[in-house]
Structures are given as structure tokens and as C-alpha cells.
Symmetry: C3
Subunit: 433 residues, 3 copies
């Protein structure tokens, strides 16, 4: 079955997987990433997990050490627990160095993070490239902290090890590739973390069941350093083969749909992504590449120049729960994940079918004589006949599927079956490049 | 005299001709088309009438048989005449097979056509490619039909014969051609039929009296099948020689002016047509090629790819009387036809004069020393001097006449005489390609 | 010091020079132009004054004779002085022939000029190419003239001599040139005359103190005939070397900022000029080349085709005092001149730094490790980091400085120092063409 526009229901399954992955304390490196990738391997048996040793130079960067955290607790003057890593892994500043100190409340200030404007939210804070430690608490909790001596204990260390990432290649009829990349380095947050891997996994499962034109490459990496390491290891191959692709992130809530084009816009990814979102959610928001924030920063970098766009539901930094404990699995829903999945699936179906056709003889064909008029009259008949004639009128061997749909202002899911009928009816033929 | 912007009064004459042609029962084939073409030959003695035999394959189509209708009448239970072909040839479904039957009102339903929302209008219905018969009546008449037995008599037959069309070539200084096409296959309707041939004939008469740069080809065909047959017979020649052209239809009422560009837009026809309409009727409406409906469907088809646009007054399907008995010669008026003629004539004058000029020496010329300032000061003098200087400023050997007019925002009928003065004054010269 | 965005205060100095030049009676030719150029030579010692003999053919024109005016007075029936050249040199029609006649008020009418709608303004009138004489007076004065005999005396003659102009070449590291042209042919008017030469002189002084990439050519000519003569003498050189340039006129009042692009727009001058004005005065007005009126008419003429735009404060013909005695040194102010100077200086700084850079290795650089994050946190830090990353993201070896600034929506004066830091930090490199 060639890749088409029929898509499965994946929302509940994906949400269940997100719940499974919720408690894992992910970071750039360390056991959390490995545990997450191992879980994904159970879903996608052909997923390959790779590692890059700490200290490896990757372009302008050095792969950091692994972070191993075992526990972290901040206790107050009366022994009360102010914050404990076992309650919420956001309580500890990501990549914190180990500490075991008594401090006054005043001394503690430089190691405490909260959000005055969101008093119930625990903020998500990291310090990857400057040794530091800290605790994140709700403003409500902070306001209740009385003067006195506190004890800060973080049982964590940074050890030489590896950075892990995983990829999965699903071969198509051509070696040309479509890239789907998502990240696996945030602790317990839902839209800005888990929605990405669970939707990407669902897309991979769906793609694996089809007979595809393109080869599909799924990449699960720690954000930024992982993508840089991935590009470093695969630059020539990626540049040679990648025809399109998307970063999948923040793709599980029910609010908006968002699109962020590739750096130069106008690529196959941009054209297909916009057309797909126009079908799925015509009121989707388009963001400028100037507002980029995920691994498209690496894939679209000069010298890499991959045509990678981003398909999202509500974009990172555009919703109040972003980078807080409020970004949870009530915000991300089965229907939100299903909608995100469908947007990506539509885009891939458009890309995989992006052929160019031409009519086999001049002038309009006699559709009636070929049974291409619907035999039973329906209320959509007039529109369908109009679409058939528009396909024929623009099948000039120059417009590809995407431009054809845009030109005749018809949804790709409507156009493709009609093209198929016209091919079978000896009206159209495929243009071989 | 070279083709210029001075146009004759043709409204009354054209309207008189439309009245002459009104009663003829035209269809795709048969005596009605022949009678119409014979009438046009009296106006345009060099018009050549051609024929293509029934059964001839033309691309994806087969030339249909001739339709010979002698009479048609529907009588009611009391012998009253419900509809008679002699009263209005719209009363019979176009291309109906012969019939002589008694039927109950109920049995008659599938052969009766009326318009509930336009109770006084007889609709125009055809059934060209599926054998069928029927009568068209006003909704008012239909509402008055009482139960009982009706007699339907249509004395018509389909016979092997020919499809007729006509063309007229008016040679110019070059073999490159401008194509004007209109159709002659509708029965008694005025805007959506007769306005086309009578305006096209007036344009041909005017063109024949000028000294033209281009050769002009006027084509009178039955819509769709006639245009397909014409393209089939002349494809190589049309593709080789046609530089521009228009389908002329619905060009006789007094309401709006309309433009429908060629499939790819941006051709000489599109550029000239828009500039002409901008001069004649700046508030003209532009339609998308997606709303096409006449023989531009064939001329602009992939593989034919002629640069054919449409110039209209109120476009087909955009006015309530369309395809009904209300589309008559009160709707189409002498002034309506005159306006349509002028729009087409302006477009052709623009095309025929679409040269490129350049200045003969750098910097602004001294217009005063050459008598190119108007000798008598008028209130338009300042504007005319400004236009002269603008022509000179943009006479760079790249902008053609159309782009020059658009760039300097001046009407082509104002620019051309000034260009002529500048050529005579040794300021400009013609660029030879 | 390379040409940068730091500009000196020149407003008071420039205004003082305008006051010095105010009384001189300039015209196309004659002592007034020479006196003005001699004054400019004191400021710009390397300014070269040139001359072209009367009668010389320059393209379509002939260099006119010199105009020598010594005095002019119109006296009334009672001996009262109606207008005297010593009071205001606008009182005499520019380039008037000599006269000494008694005339009735009625006979005088064809030689009197005033502005009914600006009763206190003396209009500026010339008659260069048709022998004529006349007096210009305020409407108030004219209304007070009683019937009777008037005496018109103009002691003026037209003699064979020369047309003068001056130029100044400030060499840069390349022979490619930027042209700044202004005019020196109007009598006592401020915005539409003196603002041009005094701002151009200040720009030249500033440029002369920098280490420039381009060579700068400053041209001071009588308008129209002077520019035509200049183009005639230097056409091949100007076409070979000129990469950008501006006509500087009407650049000293405090109202608006105006931009008039070159004929084809999109040149380096247009891109830099718009970017500069966008920084200096985002609400600046853009005019069409169809509203041109100064020496860009010659520089942009087909066959000359220099990329010359105009940077102005309030454009000629767009302010009520234009071409009257009200265009004086209260209308033109030190701050107005300073603003005009800055707009031009910004445009030149943009042009002189319009290089193209590319990143030295793929993916984002680690800015922190290189000290490219500001060491002290300021409120602008986030924006500066964002701009740094945007520079890097678009440093693809294709976008030049101008396109880079426009793409990342950052002011050129902010971007250039950051580019410098990135060059020093081994992140960027200059693309050699």
C-alpha cells in the first residue's frame, strides 16, 4: 500500500507511552536518555542506539560528561522538606553538581529558582556548561520559607561516559531520505518533550507499514549537543540524501497548530508542511525562522543546509506552561497528539506522492466517455468534476503535486485519488525526470 | 494607417446583426450553424467555412452527427400548447432525439426543465453526449400544468454530416498571428452567444481596414467540440504563429467589464488585456483561470499552450439571465456591444504597437529646442511634458510599450502619439530584436 | 579607522557655511557659481574646479553663455523702488537679458511674477533657454502697484565664457567609486540649494578622515546642464567604477526624511539608502522615480544607468516654501542639517561595509566558550545574544551585510560590531569574491 492520506488512530496509545516515560529524569547524557531510548526500542525494534564518548570534539563543541543523579533534597530549619527530587525531577537544576551544605536562607538565594508570576509552577532550569547547583520550587513554597539554616543535598556526579542517541532507517524505493528528528533530554514535561518522541514513534510505526517512495530516517537525540553530534557523524550522508524533513516538538496539546519554515523557506518541506497544515488546520500559525529554538538550528545551519522545518501544535515559548511543571499530561491529550500526528502524516503523504504528471493528448479529455464522471450523482459531484478538469488543465508536466493542489485550490487528499483515476483512464501520465 | 486607438462606432450595426441572427436555432452541428456562418460571410466576404465529417476523431473526442430539428411541441390534456419550438427554440432540450409519445404528467417529469427561482425564465438545457429528449418551460407555465395525458412531439433526427466552423485570416506585415475566437452554437440567447460573433465581426471589419503589424486570425466555432476540432486541424500552425489572442464571449451587456487571463498568466495577451481594460474600465473584474468556461479551456490546454485570455462584459454564470430566455436583446444593447468592442480594440491596438524603443544619446534631450514642448499652452501641457520625459527616462531598450505604459502610469493611447513625436524628433529609435 | 557608524556633529558648522553662501547670486554659469566653488575649496582643499566653454556640445545640449548681472531695479511712477536686486536676488528672473525701459503697468504684466496664494513670498523664476527678462515680487507688493509708468532696469549681459563645476576624489582601498552629487546654481534659497552643498561638504570632510573601502567622488555642479556636462566628460569612467551614489538635495529642514530610488530600484544605493533611513527615521517617505526632479534624471538616464538614488529631508515641491524667498535659513536648521548628514553617513557606512561572511564550521558555535556572551549582564543581553545567533544562522556566504540586517531585522550599527567580534572569535570569515 503506497503512502496515502488514510491515517490510524494513535492518540490514546501515544498518550499511554507518554505516561510511561513521564517519571524518567532525562538530561543531555546519562541513564535517563538510555532508559528512554530503550523504551522506544520496544516500540520500534529496528531503532539503533548509538553513543559518542564524553570529550569527543563535535565541530565547535565537546561532548559533555554523563550526569548521574541519585537523589536531591532541600530541607528547612525545622527539618521540613522544601523540595525533593523523588517528588518531581524539576526540583533540581538540571546537570547540577553534587552538594551537601548547610546554608542560611540568604545564602541559598542564588541557588533557588521560582516564578513569581506563576506561583504554583516549578520552573525548569539547567546549567549545562557552567558548574552550578540549585533547587527549583514554586513561588508559593518559596514564599513560605522562613529564615534559618537549610540543608541542600544533591547526590550527583559528572562522569566520563557517552552521549546517546538513536536512529531508525525505513527503506523506500529510493535512497533519497526524509528526516524526522525529535529530542529526548528534558525531564518530566509533556508538550515540550514527550509529545515529540511519542508522535515520532507513531509516525515511524505508520510509515513502516506502507510501501514508500522515499527512505525515512527517524532521529531521537538530546537537543542541541545531540543534534550537533548527529550532524557531525552523518554530515555528508545527510547532505547527499535528505530531500525534506521536520523537527517534531511541542506536538501534543489541543490549542493551535504551528509551522516554522526552514531557514531559506520554499523547500519541499516548507511547501508540503504548509499544504498539510492548510488541510488539517487552515488557521495554523506560521512563525519566522528568527523565532527558531530547537534542532532546526543545527540542521538548517549554513554548511549543513538541510531543508528541515518544524511542525508543532502550540510552539515552545508560546504557552504559559512552557518550561514548568505545569507542562504535564493534562495539557497534552490523546486528541492533541492525534492532531499533531495527522499534521505530520499529511505532510509526509504529500512529500511521498509529490510527482509530476502531464496529459497524454491536447485539449480537454472526454471524461464522460471514460466513466470519470461519478456514476451516481451526489452533491459533491459538481466540485469533483471541476477538480478533475482542473487537474487536467494544469497537468502540464511542470507543476508537481504540491503546486497542482495549491493552484487548483483543492485538498491533496481529494486530488490524489482523482489523479489515480486519470492515470488509469489513460488521460494522464507520470513525468519521468 | 497603422492600427491605432481610434475606434469606430459599431454598436447599432452590431445590435442589428444580433437581431438578424436571433431566431436561428444553432447547435453544435446542423443547419443553424451553417445559416449563422453564411450570414457572417455576407459581412466578412473572405471568411472561409470549413467542415469536419461526423465520426472524425479529434484528440479524445469524436465529431458528433448533425442535429436536424424541424418542429417540437408539447400539448396538454385539453389540447392546449404548453411549449412550442416555433415560439422559442429554448423550449426543446438541445440535441434532443425525436419523440412522439403520450405520457402522464408524472411520466413527463424527467423530461421537463424549469427554474423555480426564476419563474418567468425558460432554461437553456442540452444533452449532447447522452441520447435524451425534453422540453424547457417557465416555472409559471409548469405550475399551471394539470394532471392528465400530455403529448410530446419532437420531429428531429441525428444524421451523418459535418461539423462546421469558419475562419478569416487578415494578413499583416509579419506572419505572427493574433487569434480571436468566438462561438456559434447557442440558440436564441444574446449575451452568451450573439454578442460574441457580432463583436468579433466588427473587430474583423475594423482590423481589415488598417495596416497591421500582426496577421489576425478570426475563428467562429461551435464551443468545445468545434474548438477541439479547430485545434486538432491547426495545432502546429497555431503553436508556431500565435503570439496573443482572446476568446470573445458575453461582451454585449452594459454592466461590468471582465477579464480572465490565460492559464499561466503574464503572456502578451494578459498584459495587453489588463492594460486595455485599465484604460477602458479601471474597475473591471479579474477572474481566475479556475473559473474558465469557454474555448480557452482548449487553447490553453497543456500541449496546446496558446496565450489566450478572455475579454468580456458580464462573465458567463455571473448574471441571473445566463442560460435562460431572459438573456435577450434588451439585456444586450448597442452601447454594451460598443463598450465590448472598444475593450477588444484597445487590447489589439496595444498588441500591434508593442514595440521597444531606446533613446539615441545619454541624458535627457532638450525637448524645447526640438519643438516637442506643445507650442500652445494647455491645461494638460504639464502632464504631457511629464509623460514625454517619462517616456525618455524609461526608453532603455528593455521595456516594451506595455511595460512602459505601466511603469510611467500613462494611458497607451496617450503614450503612442508622444513616442511617434520622439521618433520623428530623433530622440528615440526602434530597437530591432 | 574604517568607515563606521559613529558620526560627528556638523549641524552648526554647516549652518554657518550656509549663511556665508546665502547672499551669492548663483545661476547656471557666471561669477556666482565660481564664488560658491571657491568657498567650498577653502573647506575641501583637494576640490578641483573645472570649466567647459560656452557653446560646447554636450549630448543633446549646448553649454550656455555666462550670465553677468550687476544690478536690477524696478521703480514706480513716483520713483518708489518696487524691487531691487540688492535686496533679494530672487527679485530678478534668473538669466534675464539686460533691459532699460519705461513701461506702463499694463505693459509690465508679462514681466512680473508673484504668487497669489503666498502673498508674502517672492517666487523663484528663471528663463534659461528663451531670452526674456522679468521681476519677481510678493503678491502684497504687486497689489500695491498703482497705474502709471514704471522703469525696469536690469544691468546684465550674456557673454562667452565657461560653465564651472567641481569634483573631489577621496581614494579608498579599491578604485570602485561611490558618487555624491549636489548642485550650486540656485540663488538665495536654503533647503533647495544650500543644504545640499553644505551637507555634501560635511560628508566629504568626514569621509576624508576614515580608512575607506571605496573611493568617494563628490560632485558640485549646476543642476541639469552641469550634470549633463559632467556625465559627458566622464561617462566611461563613471559607468566603469560607480557602484552606488546619491544626489544630495533639500536635506536641511526638520520635517520629514525622504527617499527617491534609482530608476530600476534594487541597486546597492537603494538597498543601503532604505536600510539607513529605516534606522535613522523609520517613518521616512519613499517617492517614486516618476517624481524625480534633480540630477538623478541624468545619472539614471538610459545609456548612463548609474545606480543613483536621492536622500532628502523634505523633498523639493513637497513643501510650501519651495522655490520662493520663504525657503530660507530659518527653515533650514542646524538640527535639520545634522539629521540629513546622519542619513547620508549611515547609508555610506552601510555601503562601505557591505561584505559577505560565512561561518567557519557547521552548526551553531559555542558562544559561551569564546567569551562572546557579554560578561556583564545587561537588559539588552538577550537581544544581543539573539542577534549574534541570527548573524551566525544566516552567515551563509550569500547574504551580504544589507540583506543580513534586513533578514535578521537588526540595525546595521548593532550588527557590524557583533560581526567584528565573531570574526575575531574565529566563528566567521570574510567571503572573498
Amino acid at each position: 500500500m503506497p503512502l496515502g492520506f488514510e491515517t490510524p488512530e494513535i492518540g490514546e496509545t501515544a498518550h499511554g507511552r507518554a505516561r510511561d516515560l513521564w517519571p524518567v529524569c532525562r538530561s543531555l547524557t546519562g541513564p535517563g536518555v538510555r532508559e528512554t531510548l530503550a523504551y522506544l526500542q520496544k516500540i520500534l525494534p529496528d531503532l539503533q542506539v548509538h553513543s559518542v564518548r564524553s570529550g569527543t570534539k563535535v565541530f565547535d563543541w565537546t561532548v559533555p560528561k554523563e550526569w548521574h543523579i541519585r537523589s536531591a533534597r532541600l530541607t528547612g530549619p525545622d527539618g521540613e522538606v522544601v523540595a525533593d527530587f523523588v517528588d518531581n525531577n524539576l526540583h533540581v537544576v538540571g546537570y547540577s553538581v553534587g552538594v551537601d551544605r548547610e546554608l542560611s536562607l540568604e545564602e541559598l538565594e542564588g541557588h533557588l529558582y521560582s516564578l513569581p508570576e506563576q506561583p504554583d509552577a516549578i520552573p525548569y532550569i539547567t546549567s549545562y556548561y557552567k558548574p552550578h547547583w540549585g533547587f527549583c520550587v514554586s513561588q508559593a513554597a518559596r514564599d513560605g520559607m522562613k529564615p534559618g539554616m537549610y540543608r541542600a543535598v544533591i547526590d550527583a556526579e559528572h562522569v566520563d561516559g557517552v552521549l546517546n542517541y538513536a536512529d531508525l532507517i525505513i527503506p523506500g524505493r529510493t535512497e533519497e531520505e526524509v528526516l524526522i528528528s525529535t529530542y529526548v533530554c528534558h525531564p518530566s514535561m509533556a508538550n515540550n518533550e514527550l509529545s515529540g518522541p511519542v508522535v515520532a514513534a507513531a509516525v515511524a510505526e505508520w510509515i513502516a507499514q506502507q510501501d514508500n517512495h522515499y527512505t525515512y530516517r527517524f532521529v531521537f537525540v538530546p537537543e542541541t549537543i545531540g543534534a550537533i553530534a548527529y550532524v557531525h557523524e552523518h554530515l555528508d550522508l545527510l547532505r547527499l540524501r535528505t530531500v525534506a524533513g521536520y523537527v517534531i516538538t511541542c506536538i501534543g496539546d489541543d490549542r493551535s497548530y504551528s509551522f516554522l519554515p526552514s531557514r531559506e523557506d520554499g523547500t519541499l518541506s516548507d511547501r508540503a508542511g504548509r499544504l498539510a497544515l492548510n488541510s488539517v488546520a487552515p488557521d495554523y500559525k506560521t512563525f519566522s525562522f528568527l523565532t527558531r529554538g530547537s534542532d532546526e538550528r543545527q540542521y538548517c545551519s549554513p554548511g549543513v543546509d538541510l531543508p528541515i522545518a518544524s511542525i508543532m501544535r502550540t510552539k515552545y515559548a508560546e504557552y504559559p506552561e512552557y518550561h514548568t511543571s505545569l507542562d504535564d499530561l493534562t495539557l497534552v491529550t490523546p486528541s492533541g497528539l492525534q492532531g499533531g500526528f495527522e499534521a505530520v502524516a499529511q505532510a509526509l503523504a504529500i512529500i511521498d506522492n509529490n510527482r509530476t504528471w502531464q496529459i497524454k493528448r491536447p485539449c480537454e479529455p472526454q471524461l464522460g466517455a471514460r466513466g470519470l464522471y461519478p456514476s451516481v450523482s451526489t452533491k459533491n459531484k459538481a466540485q469533483q468534476v471541476r477538480t478533475l478538469l482542473n487537474i487536467v488543465a494544469y497537468a502540464d508536466g511542470k507543476l508537481d503535486f504540491i503546486d497542482l493542489c495549491r493552484t487548483i485550490e483543492a485538498p491533496p487528499a481529494d486530488v490524489l485519488p482523482l489523479v489515480q483515476k486519470l492515470l488509469e483512464g489513460d488521460v494522464l501520465e507520470l513525468v519521468m525526470f
